[in-house]
């Protein structure tokens, strides 16, 4: 069974757009698929867009933190994009924080952020 979340490679960057509400098993499945991909094939960075998610609860937050930690261990720069304002407010009120994750407004801005980072590191 697959989570159905497309995991793409765009210009050496891993790009994921979560397109719809996922039930818990799909979230776990998606995490496994993503980890399999990013540990298997080298990439310059990872962007995950969650603009389609109307609700982000502590379960999804935990999975995002796990992905972020693993990306960190792999030295893979990670940007989370598209968090809806109402979701951001809710997470803050719940006392959940994204533990210093880099964020950007949308997928494109996220990719730009990663590319700028790569350029800075080359200098």
């Amino acid at each position: 069974m697959s989570s159905g979340v497309p995991i793409l490679k765009v210009d050496d960057y891993w790009v994921v757009a979560v397109e719809e509400t996922l039930h818990d098993q799909s979230v776990i499945q998606f995490k496994e698929e993503l980890l399999h991909n990013i540990t298997g094939v080298a990439g310059k960075g990872l962007v995950i867009d969650i603009s389609a998610l109307e609700v982000v609860d502590s379960f999804v937050t935990r999975v995002l933190i796990e992905i972020s930690k693993l990306a960190g261990l792999l030295g893979l720069p990670f940007v989370l994009t598209g968090i809806k304002p109402a979701v951001a407010i809710t997470l803050t009120e719940m006392g959940l924080d994204l533990q210093g994750m880099a964020t950007a407004l949308n997928l494109q801005k996220g990719l730009e952020k990663l590319k700028n980072l790569a350029r800075m590191e080359q200098r």
């Binding site: 039930h23 818990d24 502590s58 935990r62 304002p85 109402a86 809710t90 009120e93 719940m94 959940l96």
Partner: protein, 133 residues
Amino acid sequence: MNLKQTLPITSEYDIITARQAAREIARQIGFNTVDQVRIATAVSELTRNVVLYAGLGKVDIEVVTRGERQGIEITVSDQGPGIADIELALSDGYSTSNGLGAGLSGARRLMDTFFIESRVGQGTIVKVGKWKN
């Protein structure tokens, strides 16, 4: 509009059904977007707890009025193992399932009212409410 809805919680799919139902009712009675998300997220937390710790349960969503004010009241109940130490379960970061331990405490912060009753071996009832400004 259906002002009262009872939904069974038997699997993780029902978490999504329940939170969407609560959000829709909240929207229909005029809660703003942020409040709709607060309410849906609280329902997500409480119903996931039922799935994780009790297996089965139900959620009642109800529109309530007090004088001129309208609000929503949500009762999530199960006949699972119960919670021995409610104080502890409500503290940030406490989890018996490797979670963030933010579900109960988070739901409490997101809503205006929060009531929990639990007996070991008998089950748990969590009642949360929010009033429109």
